[in-house]
Symmetry: D2
Subunit: 483 residues, 4 copies
């Protein structure tokens, strides 16, 4: 019962998960396992690069980890005891294999592979300058900018070149880099995207979430810290902090929706935080009802928290099918709301005549909420109250999360009354931003300890490309289309 | 959150789901929808036959309904306002397309298509006799026996021939038959396998479960009764009962596990019955614990029932991944219990130091139970108590359910103490057979109103082929292998 | 340089090739080789059935032998030292796998596999009667009729049943049958379709043409005679002739086009016969020209014969590509005659200003001839004379050859002058029917020793289905469409 | 009947064919046609890039043009009236899609696509230097060197940068380049590889051979001259010659084997040249024989020339199958010489007891020659004389032709007597180098007008990489393996 809902069209989407391991036999097989556990962070494509001491080996594929990287021939083609991997969700039509990470280049210092979670917010500007100087890009990915900055750096050692490159980029990045000398894992100074470190026997593992350690049987050691570079060379591990120290601002949406509930993020159980948000919601927005019903699967922990805090029974009022196909042909308009019924069916016998509280993690466009409220009404619910375990999502993210343009965000267009009308609910409430921080044992105040820009518009970095009215899509404009 | 768990290796498996519709534009598209809702009853193959007033059209495919029958070209190749379909799980290696239903034959009375849920328990004997008389079988399916009995019957009309055939077969059958004159739906005299009837505007729909009506937007009318033939010819519906009346014995496992929780079976909500079994279990086998944890997903309703009856909080202690691949390569023995971790991960932060009650619907071989108990212990549980929402499964089913041979059933080999030791639990309890009947508002007594042979060994029919020590595999011996 | 041209749309098409081997290790592998050598007789589908002493094993596939039966896994799935196979070209849209031979049935006498080259001309009538008595057909193939006649025969032994069946069928059949007791090869009493017998070490081989023996390294022994059944049981070979003797009438088109030039048919080299037809044509229809140009590849032997007899030099005036795709998109009408240019290109430097004689084996619809004459003119030919190495094709074949309906045969619609105009040639001549017989060292007279019905309309059998105005397509009407 | 034999393992292989068109609606469709006609120059992969006035569009695929570029969806994805394409045969294991041309890069001057026939003989050295300066290579192709030289050139305009790049490369190159401003076609100063120019209505076409013009319906205008750059911008065509003039040395093997017989190369019909080589061979190496037999298909023109010059009849003594699969499983050693029999079968009836002259275009390793001589003997030939329509191949090619290493070239290892013994022929002769020049209406002398290094070792350029003992395989060492 995974709280992250892979099928739902109306969610923000984390764009990437990364994993790396140094010093383990069968490094690529472990990486495949780890990526599988991170699959919810990117379902579109996956890649693994291994290093056998002499050569780098890469396999990239569109689609899921299972089906591509559970094949014996693929794993045998990725020898070595160092490997890193990437799962990806892309925002544009440019879903070609060449954008699938890890990216790789032959530099004068030797091979260089990189896996990136986040988004470089001045990538366009840097790319234009690099091309002007003769660099040739092979992808439309912002990540490739980092590689060319390393390749053309005037510093001598790979590490100095890499730091030189990072100092030129803005935005969010958790990175895992492989070179012939070793593996480097790092997080941007604000620590916007997550990255943790674990151990399995003698090997070191890096991953976006602790669940990827669990699946490998590894023990969670600590988070890579904002602004930290962890360098693994054989059995030696070093840590350096080349950036000026700033207050960290990790993405708060990891606790709301992105991370798996069984992960530990920032020393807190994601499941417990979500239950606590549900409890906050019960206090902030109580309702007289018969049943608490989660919108499956991501609403379940908050619904349990709401039910326990309110004393209203938790019940499965919506049954979700495991067998989902999107495109069933609809024979005329006899069959209404077909899409949502393929995924979810009301537990009619339970709901008939009851006052229900629906709990969901967030509302983006509002289209799914509308359908689910209608489904409850058609099943005979007497009243339908919607409670949302995050504040209204009103702003786009430029740090590696796929958000619709602002004009499509329901909360950017309508006030609470308008939203309640739009989804046809009897009532609608969102947890407050302070309530959300409270569930994380924090207080927002003036110096927020999280990036909450999607709720507040308070962006922690400059947005160079965006301010130039450039968008990610400009990358696509530069390059050939590969049919 | 579907209680039927499609990935689990250690469950009994319903072998089929069937669906039919007469009198609806786009009958094949509706059938695809219905089969999709019945996918949990058979994941191996699917087929649909339509009739356009002149010709029959069939598409069969290995794999799921989605991916095969959500394609426009496939549905366009299945014209007509009458259609029936079938999803299948097969028990033997003989998974060839020729065994995928609906089966079809050109008879002297015209085309004849048949979809069957159940198992003919004297099929081998009948087949031998038919081959002796010159019949040529094209499949290794028991269902084909019915077609040849119809083809070679001495009666004149199709209906008389069909009744003549049914009177010769023993076992379990819910059938949907299509002929140029109309559709016939029927259930065997004991009503072992389910079949319900619904309406969508002017059309009539038959399906194994009511969820298939829900997904189409149809209204549930009634169950087809044991021993009843419902004949639909255009807008006319007739019902006949050609068999001697006997007391019905529907399969009790439909409420335990097979049916979806949002289905209505025998006028009872499957979800409510499961919660009630959980409540019974709380009364019969209470335990002093901190958390009630369902084994996802099929243990969830009983766990909610157990938690509500016992007052112990319901919590998600096991997180299930949506992205499951079976065959990830395991790099050495460093990674233990990998299979189960790919599917399920312990919510470690929740479980640490707690006394937990695990709720599952049934135990077949016991292998998964063992792994899940171990997973709880590794996550730091102080005590692990297993409670099972059905009696011990001790006998094979011969009525269309895939059961392991008796020697592999844990409860056929060990007593309660042995089973508790085997799964390494602190305690283990099953609901009693009387408790199970009670949850269904019945009492077992001497004349049980359900088939509960898998628990009791009390088979409601003769088992001709089985008594001759013939097995399903004999079919395979007769025929060519198709590589 | 194969004279049989697999790509050409405007040819009569042999519908089948068959091959069988008894008593050889790796029988299926040998059969795959043999079928590969017979691929020109049927390019649409192929199948092999083997018998391992206990079980029959079958693999059927759409497409060529190479690509399907050169795969190790496929051949390993076909164990045993007896095997037979079939390549097929089908005439109707019913190209489903179920029609691909060998066909197989479980009879009361045991397994029965059959591969058939030819066409049963009373199959429809027999099928209707069999269905009336309760037989269920699984294909729309005329061949299945034979199996049901065997299955329902009142005789006791398989051999008696098989002879009983053959006595009821009319038309053309070369058959290879496999049963647990052994292999039976036979030809219909008129011997319309070919079948030869060879030896490879201790094993016996049957094949449609001697090239299939060559490719296996087997030696050609003799033809199976018209009306003969050759029965192979282990190392014992018996021959029986259960039919009343009649004068044989083998298909003369085998020498004109169907058989490979390196085959021996009726004790004559096909290549030599074709050269001799070319020489006859030079005598019957001389022309004052600079070059003799074959229409590749099937016109080559006759062109060599024509060139040697006339003294005009043989030259490659048309170059044929090995890389043919049918469906290249044509950008507007700028690119004319594209289809033919993809296959054939004029050797412009050679042709410019020359008088050319084009030699082709036959004209069916005339469409290709028209394009080739135009190609010569566009390349600058001064005169284009067409000479055809067979008489005008005026009648349909009902014995296993795909002929267009009569209305589409150029020679059935137009006289010689009309045909010459249609193809825009300066002159056109066909070899005479007597000239054709002469090239075979025979004379036609009143009792022709070949079936030449396509030229003369003199059919050697009754045409029961055809006379009832039934056609092969009626089979399709009986059965379901399989999408 | 294509003289270029795509299946034969024992030939030198041209590695590429290129095609470009500017100013034609449906430019990509025309390019697909042209590449199809050039398929014999590279069967491993193909690619097309089009330019629609704003964007470049590319599709690359492993395999043949037909099957990949005859698909409507592919061609629709390649809009625009300018396009170029490439067919490729590669020598190393690195057959990844990233090496398939046209290669593309976004330069500061805009998009840049390039298709290359030939080989840069100092590519390794240039690459090392470019990487040292920060360039990142995306392929292991020597062609990419040119792109980076353009990207990093200090000149301002694209044309100046391109000329600057070409002046740094050594070796053989016929190139078609596309930029937003137009198309550039050029040949290296020695004109080693071919390139011709044609017209179709208002558009300009470039292609490796004239057959590609024929298939499009275009007219052949002239060859692009050695050292010439032809620049097409809209309807304007310019020609520049930036290199110091040197005597041209086109590859003589184009007339021997690479080009199609229906092409015009260097103003001479390839077919006529081959016939003339055959005639030379008849004069230089006459033999008393009954039959002249071509080794199909590439030996056919020379065999016709030999037959006409000698008066010995030309006959098809070897029949070639169109249906070739390489990997048929061989059941034991019963079946000898299976590989060659799948491709070629002796026309036994013709050969029995005859003295035969076999004509082939060249001998590389000698393995096929050996098998063909044996095939003739097994078919009963009284004597077998082999005549080869080129001089002995003794040296490797470094200009874009796949030659085995010298140690595997039969003529590099053995003298004429040794070769005769090796192939078991009664006699063996090669045409002399002077005879070959004579067939081209030239004389070799001291200043040869062709590159004949494979026969003479007289290489017309320095071989920088080779002299450094670098090989093409070093590219592969630099880069990651892509599984």
């Amino acid at each position: 019962m995974l709280t992250t809902n892979p099928f739902d069209d109306d969610k923000l989407r984390e764009e990437c998960g990364i994993f790396g391991v140094s010093g383990a036999d069968g490094a690529a097989a472990l990486t495949a396992l780890g990526l599988h556990a991170l699959q919810h962070r990117g379902q579109e494509a996956a890649g693994i690069t291994s290093f056998d001491g002499t050569l780098f080996h890469t396999h990239r594929a569109m689609g899921h980890v299972a089906g591509n990287f559970d094949r014996d021939d693929v794993i045998r083609g990725l020898p070595g005891d160092v490997a890193c991997g990437h799962v990806r969700y892309s925002t544009t039509g440019e879903t070609a294999l060449r954008n699938v990470q890890p990216l790789y280049a032959d530099l004068s210092t030797g091979g260089f592979a990189i896996a990136h979670n986040g988004n470089i917010s001045n990538a366009m500007k840097l790319r234009r300058e690099l091309v002007r100087r003769g660099s040739i890009f092979q992808s439309t990915s912002d990540t490739e900018t980092i590689i060319h900055l390393v390749a053309t750096s005037n510093y001598r050692t790979l590490l100095d070149r890499f730091i030189d490159a990072l100092k030129q980029v803005e935005g969010a990045y958790s990175l895992i880099v492989m070179t012939p000398e070793g593996m480097i894992a790092c997080r941007d100074p604000l620590g916007i995207r997550p990255l943790v470190m674990g151990r399995l026997d003698g090997s070191v593992i890096f991953a976006s979430e602790t669940v990827a350690l669990d699946v490998c049987g590894a023990t969670f050691e600590r988070a890579v810290e904002p602004g930290e570079l962890v360098i693994v060379q054989g059995t030696e591990i070093r840590s350096i902090r080349p950036f000026q120290a700033v207050d960290a601002r990790p993405c708060i949406f990891e606790w709301v929706y992105f991370s798996r509930p069984d992960s530990i993020a920032g020393d807190q159980s994601v499941y417990s935080v979500r239950k606590e948000i549900g409890a906050q919601l019960a206090h902030e927005a109580p309702v007289d009802a018969d049943l608490v019903i989660p919108v499956p699967d991501s609403g379940v922990p908050a619904a349990i928290g709401y039910a326990q805090a309110s004393g209203i029974p938790f019940e499965l009022g919506i049954i979700r099918s495991h067998y989902v196909g999107r495109t069933f042909i609809q024979p005329g308009d006899k069959v209404r709301h077909l899409g949502v019924k393929l995924k979810h069916n009301a537990n009619r016998a339970l709901i008939q005549g009851k006052k229900v509280v629906l709990i969901d993690d967030s509302i983006v466009r509002g289209t799914t909420s509308l359908k689910i409220v209608q489904m409850m009404r058609e099943a005979g619910a007497a009243e339908v109250h919607m409670r949302i375990a995050s504040p209204p999502t009103r702003h786009s993210c430029f740090y590696g999360v796929d958000t619709p343009e602002r004009a499509k965000l329901l909360a950017a267009k309508l006030d609470l009354g308008g939203m309640t009308d739009f989804i046809h609910a009897d009532s609608l409430s969102f947890v407050s931003i302070e309530g959300l921080y409270k569930a994380l044992n924090a207080a927002r105040g003036d110096k927020p300890s999280y990036c909450d820009a999607c709720f507040t518009g308070d962006y922690p970095t400059t947005l160079t490309d965006h301010d130039e009215t450039a968008s990610v899509d400009q990358f696509a404009m530069l390059a050939e289309r590969v049919a």
